[in-house]
């Protein structure tokens, strides 16, 4: 299970890196979103896959899963959602103002 998860997260990172290195702003945003998902999978794997019950003390015995990674992932998903939506809106606004979402066009002259 661990091996599968790591391979999956590796594939996600590969795809995300490819997307981030492209010059289209939307692809960069999609890349960052995928990147965060890869790290969520990694977090989950790092918690281990032991345990068979929900982590409520006293109800289901001692064999419960580690709840911390899940809490971390939940927080991280919320943050990533906020950042991604802001990033999308900002890029749309940039597209409206400057008429392009091509990073080479947006780069412009350095000392502007």
């Amino acid at each position: 299970m661990e091996t599968l998860m790591i391979i999956l997260s590796g594939v996600l990172v590969t795809v995300a890196t490819y997307l981030i290195l492209s010059k289209n702003a939307i692809r960069i945003i999609l890349g960052t979103a995928l990147l965060t998902h890869a790290s969520h999978l990694l977090l989950m794997t790092m918690g281990g896959f032991g345990g068979t019950n929900v982590p409520i003390i006293g109800e289901t015995g001692t064999d419960y899963v580690d709840p911390i990674p899940q809490a971390l992932i939940l927080t991280s998903i919320v943050i990533s959602f906020g950042v991604t939506s802001f990033f999308l809106v900002l890029t749309y606004r940039t597209y409206e103002e400057l008429g392009s979402d091509d990073m080479y066009v947006l780069r412009g002259r350095r000392n502007e």
Binding site: I20, S39, V83, F86, F87, E97, L98
Partner: protein, 492 residues
């Protein structure tokens, strides 16, 4: 009760939410935000004094005792930075009142600034690694909004790479946290420190520490500063000053915390790497500062040089070096804010960021000119000003440990700072004035007030460093001896 520790974070955040409902009442927004931040200065000074009297304070949220819950920890190092943050924010807020303009203020400008400060203070105070990540995100998300604030074309252009680089570095942060949790099974800083000390810093932990080095290097601009000058030159003056004074310092704080509390067992690997990166940062920043003709880039590269200088202290890693670094961080927050505010005022007055379009400003604006002169001397480390004491201590530590290359680089970089700013002073303030008396735009008193306030502070800090000496020594003591921190966390 230690509940007071949470105030530096919660006051700005709650006020920011409150101000959202007073969108139309700009006067109210201005005064509430300035008053709250002033109250925050008082509160944080009270906490600092309590830390001095009673030792490190901690607050366990929800009564979950460490290492299980999230907690805030106030030691001298973090509280000194919180106090300085609040002072700088008040100055920038007052400057913003007179300069940013109504169209900005209507769009929740003050709320965003307060969220930013809340995030910065939370990053300084937290004692939990994941909470540090969340605080960073609070701070960064407000900074994303502020950097694009107003939506000028140049701001939009510069904000996309800024956000992209920060999202990627946050990702590395998350991955590093995941690895550390997978290796040691905890995220409480004190508990992590204890576990690493007990089990030894294995090669695996060292590799993870390098990941943290990359993350905080990106955030603080240590070697990986290439995004910094372009981003910091885009937003309006008051915002750029906040960024220049605060954002990189949070990265610096986190780096100091991680590499003095957790990963201090293998200094020949990690601290050597930090030393090399600091040296390269000093060189790169110096070249950048003298290469540009654009005032905004010159001041931004000055931030980079200061970052390199502060990390020299961490690389040397003795108590004297830490004292020097702490003095220098405090000095740098105040003076960088002042430098950015003055540079922004000069650009507003002359209508162009290019140095060759400015001349003879001191004739019309003598106070501004002399303040710039003071800043220049302070950054170069001339005695009666605040930069001096930090440089002396760092120099002393470097000689004691025989780190002559770092010593030479950090003092040569001071010459580059002096040269780059002296060039600005001579080109822009001296010479024939380009504007006649009728043409010159008036400089409002409200804009000068925060500048003078920060200028007085740099004098005060330079003339009486003993006033904060006991706090700085206590802070460096805690950095040197992680057991003080750990004991404070685990006592009942």
């Amino acid at each position: 009760m230690n509940n007071i520790i949470v105030f530096p974070m919660i006051l700005p955040v709650l006020t920011a939410i409150l101000l959202v409902f007073f969108r139309k009442h700009i006067i109210l927004q201005r005064w509430i935000s300035v008053l709250v931040m002033t109250a925050n200065i008082v509160v944080s000074i009270v906490i600092l004094l309590r830390v001095q009297a009673e030792g490190i304070l901690r607050l366990d949220f929800g009564g979950w005792e460490p290492p299980f819950g999230i907690l805030f920890v106030a030691d001298s190092f973090s509280m000194l930075l919180v106090v300085t943050t609040n002072i700088v924010t008040v100055a920038c807020l007052i400057y913003a009142m007179f300069s940013v303009g109504k169209e900005y203020e209507y769009m929740f400008f003050y709320s965003f600034v307060l969220f930013l400060v809340g995030g910065v203070n939370a990053s300084f105070l937290t004692g939990d690694l994941f909470n540090l990540f969340v605080s960073f995100e609070v701070m960064l998300l407000s900074s994303y909004a502020l950097i694009a604030f107003g939506g000028k074309k140049i701001q939009l252009k510069k904000s996309i790479p800024y956000i992209a680089i920060n999202v990627v570095s946050s990702w590395i942060f998350l991955v590093a946290i995941a690895y550390l949790y997978g290796t040691l099974g905890t995220l409480n800083l004190a508990h992590l420190s204890q576990l690493i000390a007990e089990n030894g810093q294995t090669p695996l932990v060292t590799v993870i520490s390098i990941l943290f080095l990359i993350v905080f290097g990106l955030k603080s601009g240590l070697l990986l500063y290439q995004w910094l000058p372009a981003s910091y030159s885009a937003p309006p003056t008051a915002i750029a000053a906040l960024f220049g004074a605060l954002l990189t310092k949070v990265g610096i704080y986190a780096m100091f915390r991680m590499f003095t509390l957790l990963f201090y067992h293998e200094p020949q690997i990690t601290h050597t790497l930090i030393g090399v990166m600091a040296a390269l940062t000093l060189i790169g920043g110096s070249i950048g500062a003298i290469a540009s003709n654009d005032l905004r880039y010159i001041v931004s590269y000055n931030v980079v040089i200061a970052v390199g200088f502060i990390f020299v202290g961490l690389a040397i890693g003795t108590q004297v070096a830490f004292e020097g670094s702490i003095y220098y961080i405090i000095h740098d927050m105040i003076v960088k804010a002042l430098l950015f505010l003055i540079a922004g005022t000069m650009i507003t007055l002359s209508g162009s960021p290019k140095m060759n379009r400015m001349s003879g400003l001191i004739r019309n604006y003598p106070i501004l000119g002399w303040l710039f002169f003071v800043v220049m001397l302070a950054l170069a480390g001339i005695p009666p000003l605040s930069g001096f004491i930090g440089k002396v201590l760092l120099g002393q530590a470097a000689i004691e440990t025989g780190a002559y290359v770092l010593l030479a680089l950090s003092f040569i970089s001071a010459l580059f700072v002096l040269y780059s700013l002296l060039r600005v002073f001579m080109d822009c303030f001296w010479g024939e004035t380009m504007l006649s008396e009728e043409e010159e735009p008036p400089l409002r008193k409200g804009i000068l007030f925060p500048l003078i306030m920060l200028g007085v502070l740099t004098f005060a800090l330079g003339l009486a460093p003993e006033s904060i000496a006991s706090f700085v020594i206590d802070a460096s003591d805690t950095l040197m001896n992680p057991s003080i921190y750990i004991d404070a966390i685990f006592q009942k």
